[in-house]
Symmetry: C2
Subunit: 275 residues, 2 copies
């Protein structure tokens, strides 16, 4: 039996969503046991509870020897606010777990990766069940947790890799939580940002990513309409900043804020089947 603790380091989900994800897992994954922490349903201002409440839940999930993995319920914004205290509070049991999530929760994945704690992975979250085709996304994460690596982003292998939401990465670079990424393939994706903002963030992150193996671009979705066209699309923008900074542009990656979002285990991954 693989036991999975679910908490919400950023923003909350509804109880009904948790029930649907639990039912989906119960149907098809007898080897998995999901445990949604009550904190997932707490709402306080922007967040799924105060920093103290979110931190306590994260530490309970990470430090409990009865769990094998910690699955983040939803992004939004806020996991950076508890990252320092989380790293200070986790114990040796946390080091044996997988950590799954993406978007804002990439801050925690990055911080864990920097600290060498467990196996962080960019992966669909329970909240993705709400998307069109979201059941496939959630199943992809459940498959992964059950030991089936078929949901892995197909370019992964051979080189160490990470995957981040671009805004999350832009706010992570240069901070105490930023992992050293020399030699890594860095996958990025973005949602609901203007193309000029994508351009601005590419300026910023390429200044911070010296020595990486290259950048792969995932989906750039729900771009708001601006008062005028930017004059270049997302691929051209990323290629441009890669060229300006001497970072190899390696092509596309199947990650993003959609049901197609695939799994990217941070670091150097063993060949498929050995996960």
């Amino acid at each position: 039996m693989t036991r999975i603790a679910i908490c919400a380091p950023a923003t909350p989900i509804k109880r009904k969503l948790a029930q649907r994800v639990t039912a989906l897992a119960a149907e098809g994954y007898p080897q998995l046991e999901l445990s949604f922490h009550e904190q997932c349903f707490v709402s306080e201002g922007h967040f799924a509870g105060s920093d103290a409440i979110r931190l306590a839940a994260l530490l309970e999930c990470a430090n409990d020897p009865g769990f094998d993995a910690v699955w983040f319920a939803k992004g939004g914004y806020g996991s950076n606010r508890i990252a320092r205290a989380a790293l200070a509070g986790i114990d040796e049991h946390a080091a044996r777990k997988s950590y799954l999530g993406y978007s804002d929760c990439g801050t925690l994945l990055g911080a864990l990766y920097r600290a060498g704690i467990g196996q962080p992975a960019h992966a669909p979250m329970p909240v993705d069940l709400k998307r069109e085709g979201g059941e496939a996304a959630v199943r992809r994460a459940l498959d992964w947790l059950a030991g089936d690596p078929s949901g892995k982003e197909e370019s992964v292998g051979g080189e160490p890799v990470v995957a981040f939401n671009l805004m999350t990465l832009a706010m992570l670079v240069g901070t105490e939580f930023m992992p050293p990424l020399a030699g890594h393939v860095v996958m990025i994706e973005e949602v609901a940002e203007h193309l000029y903002a994508v351009d601005r963030m590419m300026f910023h992150v390429t200044q911070h990513l010296h020595g990486i193996a290259g950048i792969r671009l995932g989906e750039v979705s729900k771009v708001p309409e601006n008062d005028r066209p930017f004059g270049a699309d997302a691929v051209e923008i990323v290629q441009d900043w890669c060229a300006r900074s001497g970072i190899p542009y390696l092509g596309r990656a199947q990650i993003g804020h959609s049901a197609d979002n695939r799994i990217v285990p941070f670091g150097l991954v063993e060949p498929a089947g050995a996960a």
Copy 2:
């Protein structure tokens, strides 16, 4: 006679606006001569002309020994894209000039300050004439250019100081253009960003601003409505991140995207009257 060259390193203005600013200056400032570069009116995708066109105009303005100051016409986005080539292309004439602007143009002000070139100053721009009460804002910059320091932000003096739009600063930190700011008072302001984004940027910039004298908060205006209240206002957010990072919070500053935006000459400024 003080001769002022005006160019647009980011986005364009209309010719009519330039005419109105020229008329305003002609009426009240016989000692000033404004020269709008034709590039101010060029439009190409998001920008006031291609990078090459904007760069060429900036260098013509900065390197022409006939001008005493360079005034940026408008922000928007894009001055970061030409900053490296601008620093490489400016000559000794550029070092004797003042550089005025704010918002996106803060990237250039920061880069010039880092390089020790001229006197960068956060100040109203020609485009501010369009605001309610904008004539006072433009007059404030013209007064400054004419040698009257009365438009200076009132807390300026005694300690070195800089002023930035928060997003511009968030994208500047850690880059090759970021000036060392140890001992500086750092003033920040923001416009049209969600409070969660302000919180996220404060996380980021406070990680990069070790050793500064403190932060002063200007206006945080046109905050979009979110699907739920954030739970803290802009002052509380900035105080929180100052406390978390050990940076003194020094109170408010009268800067921002409004007609009240006052002038902040970068660095250690002489007592009022000596400017």
